[in-house]
Amino acid sequence: MPDRPSAAELADAVREFLEAEALPAATDPRLRFRLLVAANALSILKRDLDLGEELLREEIALLRPLAGAPPPGTPREQALALSAELSRRIRRGDVPRGTLEALRRIAELKLRVASPRYLERG
């Protein structure tokens, strides 16, 4: 569906509402904290909508040499299948060469969606 606002634009609209209108009106500290968490969840959602597909493809490319060819399916299903296969191998003590480096790069991909500032803090 090409209609606007797009999913990412809607996520932004709700986040801006929480930050600009709901948060200043909230006095209870617990509620304020949850509003900030909710706004953060919407930022994650927006980044996932913008970047998710591309990052899944990168993740699959990183996992392939470690866990074999992915089964047919959506990128999400393929990433899950490869990740599960690599997990099984590691669990039985069989760690393919290059695993640590690949997993670090995958963690960075996840953080670009979940917590980009974490990467900047170094």
Partner: protein, 332 residues
């Protein structure tokens, strides 16, 4: 609900603190689906008394956590041994329909970010590393025989048992996490098998410590107490997730860990080097990564719907990143 709790308490408080004691206020402070915390202000014949009531909230308790009755017994043992804890008063099987226990309500700050950053707590931050070591030394000297109901109390090798439990918890999250698997594999190889065992707090870190201007005033949140390796407790406050924006200060955003470890060695004779602690810091990160996934599952399964818990499922990536860094430092 407040009136019902207040009414249920009145009689019990008279019994505890003398005839004529009344409840001036009972206010729900917060809590999740499994536990409530009530601030209770009592007027006793000897004057006002601030109390805190921990009460079951009806939802399912964490599988790994102690029951309220057990937590109360641990708190009693800690109090009698001189650990800085709120004075425990009594456990009640039924307060307005649910289990609860009553303890002293101590003043102080618990919010990690404030403890680590507030200018007026600078003196407290300087004192905390040695004070934390002193409390851990006392906790680790608690009599295991008296707390034989604790998880791990009957295990010869509590570390191996923790790894099995963590693996089972990861499997229960039913989502593949090869980074965590790699951490578990390293732990299976590198965790010492020298069989040290003591009573451990299980969640000893900035955020679960009550802090006043002169430093530590109370050790809180005992529901994860168990019998384990004392080095688990020493490494847990180093885990990066509890540094609250001051990442370069590895002991909870307060300081480098040296003074903390030195004081602990002075008191217990157990000298733990930074290098030896590294594998326990890895254990802490693996435990918190799995903990974060598990908390997100509480939301996803409908057990406790909460945006805070939901987001933890994604923030687990931070912990994975950190544990991979620790693995990299240790050689691949």
């Amino acid at each position: 609900m407040s009136e019902r709790v207040q009414a249920a308490l009145r009689e019990r408080l008279e019994d505890l603190f003398g005839a004529g004691t009344r409840v001036a206020r009972a206010a729900l402070l917060g809590g999740g689906a499994s536990m409530e915390a009530w601030a209770v202000d009592a007027e006793t014949p000897r004057g006002p008394l601030p109390l805190l009531l921990r009460r079951a909230a009806g939802g399912r308790i964490y599988r790994e956590a102690l029951s309220l009755a057990q937590e109360f017994r641990v708190l009693q043992a800690a109090w009698e041994a001189g650990v800085l804890v709120p004075r425990p008063y009594r456990h009640f099987p039924d307060v307005a329909g649910r289990e609860a226990f009553l303890m002293e309500r101590l003043p102080g700050e618990t919010v990690g970010r404030r403890i680590v950053q507030k200018p007026e707590l600078a003196e407290a931050r300087a004192a905390l590393p040695a004070q934390m070591a002193e409390q851990l030394a006392r906790i680790h000297a608690l009599d295991r025989a008296r707390l034989d109901f604790l998880p791990g109390a009957r295990d010869e090798a509590p570390l191996q048992r923790s790894l099995d439990a963590l693996e089972a918890q990861l499997d229960a999250a039913s989502e593949p996490h090869p980074a965590i698997e790699l951490g578990l594999l390293r732990l299976r190889r590198d965790l010492p098998r020298d069989g040290r065992r003591s009573v451990c707090h299980g969640d000893f870190r900035v955020g679960n410590l009550l802090v006043g201007p002169a430093g530590l005033t109370g050790v809180l949140d005992w529901e994860f107490a168990h019998v384990g390796d004392p080095r688990e407790d020493l490494a847990w406050p180093l885990v990066r997730a509890w540094r609250f924006g001051r990442e370069q200060l590895r002991l909870g955003g307060l300081a480098q860990p040296d003074a903390f470890l030195d004081r602990y060695a002075e008191l217990t004779g157990l000298r733990v080097s930074l290098e030896e602690l590294r594998v326990f810091e890895l254990l802490g990160n693996v435990r918190w990564a799995i903990g974060a996934l598990t908390q997100a599952r509480r939301h996803l399964s409908g057990e406790e719907r909460s945006v805070e818990l939901a987001v933890l499922g994604r923030l687990a990536a931070e912990v994975e990143h950190e544990l991979l860094s620790l693995l990299g430092e240790g050689g691949a």
